[in-house]
């Protein structure tokens, strides 16, 4: 658990973070979102003491971070950044082993950990372990960055716009990877982004920041339903908010269970597809209902246009 | 303080060094008492085989002629190998320009004696040969450093290849080329001084003569003049480069 209590950060006369309080429970995926300069990165970097905070208290699992040796603290917290910050003079393997080495793990344990992480991030060991950062694509480098952040098996993972520099397709696949990994390892993740779609997709809780203050914190659904201010609403895309909301609801949750078979040749939905996808298909194919299939391709229900308009369960 | 800075900014430094150089060349012999103090047991304490002014002019003309030839050949060669018809020679020329700088200038100077005998000619040859390298190298770097979209735009608006070269490529590369010329001339002023060991009459003469005869006063007179000459020319180049960057700034704005 991470607690920030009345925390401020000033650079000279400028206040970057202004008296914020925030509690992040263990296992939460907390996304700090806001425009550039809103203090989200500064907040993140205060948690691992890359920046000292000017006022207030920051606790990790009840322990004041200033009581902990700064290097020991950082070795307990995974850290990944947009430019990856991979060490260009070291191989992928050596890069991942940085924190385990600093922690003094035995060689066999480090080796096993590297293999485990490369497998987890879908980077075949034989192909990637010996490569150097300059030989990796942007997406691969970022995977290695995430692997390196996870290497010391930290309870907490801090990620500063890790996918910000990637193309949309790579970014989406890495977001999916991260969700998959999180479902296996259940870390406490604090993730900074300026991309609201990314926040909505990843977060269990979104913290919206503006001018150094927290303007709203809530689950993605609640945020979409009840934006606290015009600023939050505009971050949520203004008039497109409905579509974003639709993106969070799954067809399987809204469909009607039915035996009423629809011809298999037409368009169809997976149960895991969002109703945003459903809406798009209906618009494309000019139809009012679509069959919903399970993973094996068997029809398990039907989704009608009318159902999309009902309030969410 | 601000006044001093402003004067220095307006190109006062080259003038200052030039005045110092000229007054040294014309007035060093007035300081006979001083040199007598440095070299007490010698009668002749002022170098007098040639006047300092004529040595200075000789030194300058050797360096100047060599620099002119190096610039014409060097810039020309670099332009030639960066045209489509000369591109085959580009790798060789750029390699030679960088490997060549490994050769110590004294060695080049010494090796031109077996070829040309003694005097100003072998000195000039060595200066030209060695002076070419930084010029070729910097011209190549300058030409290659130009954003290809700029060249495309120049061709796109209908400039001929000569117009592209004269109006776009050379002006944009000028600062880097100038830096190369500056390096070349700096090295050449030093090498020309050593040229007096192979019979060229330069400001190195008093130094060499002083070293041979154990006359520190001679050495000092030569050294002061050589040093002042180098610093004067260097400050002139600095001024020139500054005015070019100012021009570039204006162009950008």
């Amino acid at each position: 658990m991470i607690e920030l209590i009345n925390v401020s950060k000033r650079f000279g006369d400028a206040t970057a973070v202004d008296d914020i309080s925030l509690t992040i429970e263990s296992g939460e995926f907390c996304v700090l979102v806001g425009t550039s300069g809103c203090g989200k990165s500064t907040t993140l970097r205060m948690i691992n003491r890359l920046l000292p905070h000017s006022d207030g208290r920051i606790r990790i699992d009840g322990e004041e971070i200033y009581q902990i040796d700064e290097q020991k603290l950082r070795r307990r917290i995974g850290y990944a950044i947009q430019s990856t910050g991979l060490f260009p003079h070291w191989s992928v393997e050596r890069n991942i082993s940085v924190v385990p080495r600093l922690l003094g793990w035995p060689a066999a344990k480090i080796d096993a950990r590297i293999r485990e992480l490369l497998a987890l991030l879908d980077l075949p060991y034989e192909e990637f372990a010996g490569k150097f950062p300059s030989q990796l694509s942007g997406g691969q480098a970022q995977r290695v960055g995430v692997a390196r952040a996870l290497a010391g098996d930290p309870d907490i993972l801090l990620m500063d716009e890790p996918f910000g520099a990637l193309d949309p397709i790579t970014r989406e696949s890495l977001q999916n990877e991260l969700l998959r990994i999180q479902s296996q390892i259940h870390k406490t993740i604090v993730f900074v982004t300026h991309d609201m779609d990314e926040a909505l997709k990843l977060a269990t809780r979104i913290v919206v920041m503006d001018k150094g203050k927290i303007v709203q914190q809530d689950t993605p659904q609640q945020l979409l339903r009840h934006p606290a201010s015009e600023f939050v609403e505009s971050l949520l895309g203004g008039q497109e908010r409905g579509l974003k909301q639709a993106g969070l609801l799954r067809s399987g949750d809204l469909m009607q269970l039915t035996d009423d078979m629809i011809d298999g040749d037409g368009p169809s939905l997976q149960a895991t597809d969002s109703i945003r996808v459903a809406l798009s298909l209906m618009l494309t194919h000019h139809c009012r209902s679509l069959p919903v299939l399970d993973q094996q391709g068997n029809q398990i229900g039907v989704l009608h246009l009318d159902q999309l308009l009902e309030p969410a369960p | 303080m601000s006044l001093v800075r402003r004067i220095m900014h307006q190109g006062f430094m080259p003038l200052f060094w030039l005045a110092l150089l000229l007054s040294a060349a014309l007035g060093l012999h007035q300081l006979e008492t001083l040199f007598q103090w440095i070299q007490p047991d010698t009668r002749a304490v002022i170098y007098s085989r040639d006047s300092f002014l004529s040595l200075l002019l000789n030194h300058l003309s050797i360096v100047g002629i060599a620099a002119l030839v190096s610039i014409v050949i060097g810039v020309g060669a670099a332009i030639a190998v960066s045209r489509p018809w000369g591109r085959d020679f580009l790798p060789l020329v750029s390699q030679v320009a960088s490997i060549g700088q490994t050769f110590p200038p004294v060695a080049v100077l010494a090796l031109s004696v077996p070829l040309f005998g003694f005097g100003a000619v072998p000195t000039m040859f060595a200066l030209i040969l060695y002076g070419l390298l930084p010029i070729v190298r910097n011209t190549l770097v300058g030409l290659r450093g130009i954003d290809s979209s700029v060249l495309e735009a120049a061709r796109g608006v209908g400039m001929s290849s000569v117009q592209v070269l004269l109006q776009v490529e050379l002006p944009l590369a000028m600062n880097v080329i100038l830096a190369g010329i500056r390096t070349s001339v700096t090295i050449n002023i030093a090498t020309a001084a050593i040229g007096s060991t192979i019979g060229a009459s330069t400001l190195g003469d008093p130094v060499i003569s002083g070293l041979v005869n154990g006359n520190t006063a001679y050495v000092l007179q030569g050294a002061i003049l050589i040093g002042l000459l180098a610093v004067t020319v260097d400050s002139l180049f600095e001024r020139l480069q500054n005015s070019f960057s100012v021009m570039e700034d204006r162009l950008i704005k």
Binding site: R75, Y79, G85, P88, H89, L102 | R87, V106
Partner: protein, 385 residues
């Protein structure tokens, strides 16, 4: 634009130049003794028609190998290496034909044709090596081969004027090598350490950067002869007034002013490269090193220094090459080294003595260049080691 000729135009030009100089200039010369100027010998008379025609033929084949064939470069490389290997042997053959062993003072001079051929073959080697991906091992083999042939032919080359000059001065030659290396090593070593410290200080105190680099580049502007000369007066004054300095053999001329001037010249490239190297390590990499929990010491030793190393080595390379050349000038103020032979040779108008001084200086500079370039490559980040 593609070349319309089916052959490599660069090699063609180089070969034509080589042929012209081979047939137009003297290949070697014969001197009855050290004083009498030598009589030049053309290629034909120096080596005889079989050797001359094989040489010519090889050059022509090298130029005419069509570039289309994939192995052309390999053949051309082999021919050029072969031509280089024959150079010392051809001198041996020339001596065999023209120097009468019964005349102990007769000596063979190397002609302009030989030197130009050597130079052009060097250019051909550079040209070919740029276009061919040669394994580092093969480069080494080529160099070892060349070295081996030179060593093998040494006994035959004794009547060579250069060798004669060497033999009468083998002691001085060894001494010159020692003092040259000592001056270069001392200057580079000292400036490496002090340059490193200075660069660290500049990294910490940005206010001092401008004035520090200003002073160092001002020194760099002053010609070597002037700086050596300017140091004589103060050093002889100090030495005259300090018995300790006299004991250390610090005088107005000799090693002391030479070393001082060399260090002064070495500081600029050393400080500049070290400063840039340490300063320009990416801030993101440093931040993530801190973020991983490295101590400041670990960040410096494991990340900053290794990443800066290639550029620091590049600084050492520039400094060393510069110092090798400047040490030659320092011979004028009695500091010893190979420059001594150059200036003695100039004084006596003895061309081969000049060569005896100039060639080792060039070889030293090229060796330093090769060694430090390889070292810098070795430490480049992100290359499979």
């Amino acid at each position: 634009m593609k070349s319309t000729l089916p052959v490599n135009r660069v090699l063609l030009v180089l070969v034509l130049l080589a042929l012209a100089s081979l047939w137009g200039l003297d290949y070697a010369s014969v001197q009855p003794n050290r004083i009498v100027p030598g009589a030049g010998q053309s290629l034909m008379s120096a080596l005889g028609w079989p050797w001359a025609s094989v040489l010519t033929l090889l050059l022509v084949i090298c130029a005419c190998t069509p570039v289309r064939s994939s192995r052309a470069l390999l053949y051309q490389l082999m021919i050029v290496v072969l031509l280089i290997l024959q150079l010392p042997l051809s001198l041996g053959w020339f001596i065999e034909r023209h120097i009468d062993p019964a005349l102990p003072y007769a000596r063979a001079g190397i002609g302009a044709g030989f030197w130009v051929l050597l130079f052009l073959l060097g250019l051909m080697l550079i040209e070919i090596k740029q276009r061919i991906r040669l394994h580092a091992g093969w480069s080494l083999v080529i160099w070892l081969l060349i070295l081996a042939v030179i060593l093998i032919s040494v006994p035959w080359l004794e009547p060579l004027a250069l060798m004669r000059e060497y033999q009468t001065r083998s002691q001085q030659f060894a001494q010159a090598l020692r003092s040259h290396l000592a001056l270069v090593g001392g200057a580079v070593g000292f400036s490496l350490v002090s340059g490193f410290i200075l660069a660290l200080l500049l990294n910490r105190y940005p206010a001092a950067r401008k004035s520090c680099f200003g002073v160092l580049s001002f020194i760099q502007t002053i010609p070597s002869l002037a700086l050596f000369g300017l140091l004589i007066a103060p050093l002889s004054y100090l030495s005259a007034n300090s018995p300790l300095l006299q004991q250390l053999n610090v005088r107005g001329i000799g090693w002391a002013p030479a070393l001082l001037a060399l260090i002064a010249y070495s500081l600029l490239p050393m400080v500049r490269n070290t400063f840039i190297a340490l300063h320009e390590v990416s801030a993101d990499v440093l931040e993530s090193a801190r973020g991983m929990g490295m101590s400041p010491r670990q960040v410096f030793m494991q990340v900053r220094l290794p990443l800066a190393l290639p550029i620091i080595i590049e600084g050492v390379r520039i400094t060393t090459i510069q110092a090798i050349g400047l040490t030659a000038v320092a011979a004028l103020i009695g500091a010893g080294g190979f420059g001594t032979f150059i200036f003695q040779g100039l004084g006596q108008a003895a061309m081969d003595l000049i060569l005896l001084g100039a060639l080792p200086i060039i070889v030293l500079a090229l060796l330093a260049d090769a060694f430090f370039s390889a070292a810098a490559d070795r430490f480049k980040p992100g290359v499979k080691g």
